[in-house]
Symmetry: C2
Subunit: 356 residues, 2 copies
């Protein structure tokens, strides 16, 4: 088989531990399916600030650019939280998204059967919840001009949000395509009663919609969406929205499933290239203790196989292995009811590759 190049960015906190388990899965996939992977490791985030003086070294960017996909652990931690902007892990995150043209962030929010009770929502409300938030990732207020100026009322800070037709169209089309392959329902979220960017957004959605006649479209205001996610989570299929709203709503959606430690995400651009990472953060409090749950990162590999490489067989095998291991009762401590029988990060990785 053709060799696929994967840039591996372990990052900070529990990142290196969970990524190590995902790499075992890559190796096991080669053995079982005959696929070939070449991994190249790169420094990013806090560790890159410490070792290279910048969260996104040029070299790391090049490793990503010559790869077919990127696997990312997690970045950030209190150590760098008070650094100046250029020396913060988040700045690297925004930089890598922009530099790699990753304009779309897909965050599936599903409920794992074994974790049904972990949600703070009532089981009957959660029943059947399986949605995906498609978040625009390289536009909006994240990347607009920012500055300070002096006024008679003291310093003033300014952020600018902008979207052009092309930026909206490509993400909206992608969301329609995804919805077309799922339950065929798309909720476009905006604040068109207040924002000009939202009015443009809604115009583009309405212009594109007739090309996808089989997808049922609803426009939802962002404040209302924050409510409806709580009230009727299972009624959503695909939600598409701009960068800032997507940041908030995708986290709300992930949390309501109760399965946040198990969720994978993909950031995509034009073509098949993608960056895959768990939804959870770097959890510095449990780093280095063999306590982290590697499942979200392992499922990020499955998502990579499915979306970037088209290796559906291997993706299926990984997902089935995860389900088998959970059904057999194995848990890392974050998802264990009885902490005393919980397995560690490495043991969970081993169980999953054994089940593949």
């Amino acid at each position: 088989a053709e060799v696929k190049k994967i840039a591996v960015i372990a990052g900070d906190g529990i990142g290196p531990e969970v990524v190590a388990e995902a790499e075992k899965v890559l190796k096991r996939t080669e053995e079982l399916f005959g696929y070939r992977f070449e991994t190249e490791h790169a420094l990013f985030g806090g560790i890159a600030i410490d070792e290279k003086g910048t969260p996104l070294p040029q070299e790391t960017l090049e490793v990503c650019q010559r790869a077919d996909a990127v696997l990312l652990g997690a970045v950030g931690g209190p150590k760098w939280d008070n650094n100046p902007k250029e020396l913060r892990p988040e700045t690297g995150l925004l930089g890598i998204r922009k530099a790699l043209g990753l304009f779309s962030n897909l965050r599936p929010a599903v409920v794992f059967d074994c974790l049904k009770d972990a949600s703070t929502l009532k089981p009957e409300v959660l029943e059947g919840t399986d949605l995906i938030v498609v978040r625009e990732l390289t536009g909006g207020i994240y990347f607009g001009e920012k500055y300070r100026r002096d006024t008679e009322y003291g310093q003033e800070a300014v952020d600018t949000s902008s979207y052009n037709v092309k930026e909206v169209e490509r993400i909206v089309r992608q969301a329609f395509e995804i919805a077309g392959k799922r339950r065929k329902k798309l909720a476009s979220v905006d604040k068109a009663n207040v924002l000009e960017t939202s009015r443009l957004w809604r115009e583009v959605v309405n212009r594109v919609a007739p090309e996808y006649p089989d997808v049922e479209l609803e426009h939802v205001l962002v404040d209302n969406c924050a409510m409806q996610l709580l009230r009727r989570p299972s009624s959503f299929d695909v939600i598409v929205t701009e960068n800032m709203f997507g940041d908030i709503l995708s986290d709300e959606a992930a949390m309501l499933t109760g399965s946040i430690g198990m969720l994978a995400s993909a950031s995509l651009g034009e073509g098949s290239f993608g960056l895959y990472e768990p939804v959870h953060g770097s959890a510095p409090d449990i780093a280095g203790q063999n306590l982290a749950n590697p499942i979200a990162t392992i499922l990020s590999v499955a998502l990579m196989f499915r979306m970037t490489f088209g290796y559906a067989d291997a993706a299926d095998a990984i997902e089935a292995a995860v389900a088998d291991v959970l059904n057999a009762g194995h848990r890392t401590s974050d998802i264990a009811t009885n902490k005393s029988t919980a397995v560690g990060t490495e043991a969970m990785g081993d169980l999953i590759i054994a089940a593949m």
Copy 2:
């Protein structure tokens, strides 16, 4: 007693019905406590568009300006949703906030005992939830410059968000004051890892904080807050945030209580003047059918008594009357388990004034 002038804006949908019940409460308060109210009605929102050609007629603004407080029902409805911007009810809402200098929106989110089960959250998670969102209401991206321009990628829309030190300071101080009179915990919500306005916000919060040493302060990123509201709602006391984040988070917080049809809100400026309204919308689908629940509007009157007039005795009487009526088992259909025994809007108002 001194005559208090109240501008009464019934608005659209169920607005007139719920406001009529609140006016009965005003009258009953005069009889019971000897306070004196003079009400002046004004057109606003959709009905003002229909009758005066603008959502916020100059006359309405003047009625509000010569009043001591404003009672608002609800505005908006599908009839006006596709109007051009100047002819939309929301434009009136933004206009009245700005014109009256209402920079602070207080949205208490509490759980009514009789509605505990109405929430989609598990009762044990909701237990003890009693928080208030203090939302900045006249700044940020709502009121910044907005425009379109042509680019090589099609039209581009731009929104601008700005905050100066004075704007942040006054809302933050108010939030600290409120927290000081409650459980003494303040969560300041921003996106300081991305936005310049948030960095200024956080600087001001940190500068003001030492003046309130008895209030425990935490900074929470907006995406994390959307999650924590779901995970540990009862741990929040006062949440202070900017306009757009406050719009989203206050709706999320209200919905998780399950009591959204019962929640009152206040919009305040400098001094004691305030605008009071229910958190719920104009519910055009049930308008004119004597089905609406007037409790949130009646509780908005109690909030007005407490915050603008300092009539704690009358506020207590109203709140106790509402509790008594609910404890006696009376329900409007929105909160009734058995719809066939539900009472109408007018009957609920009558029960409450009888219980005062």
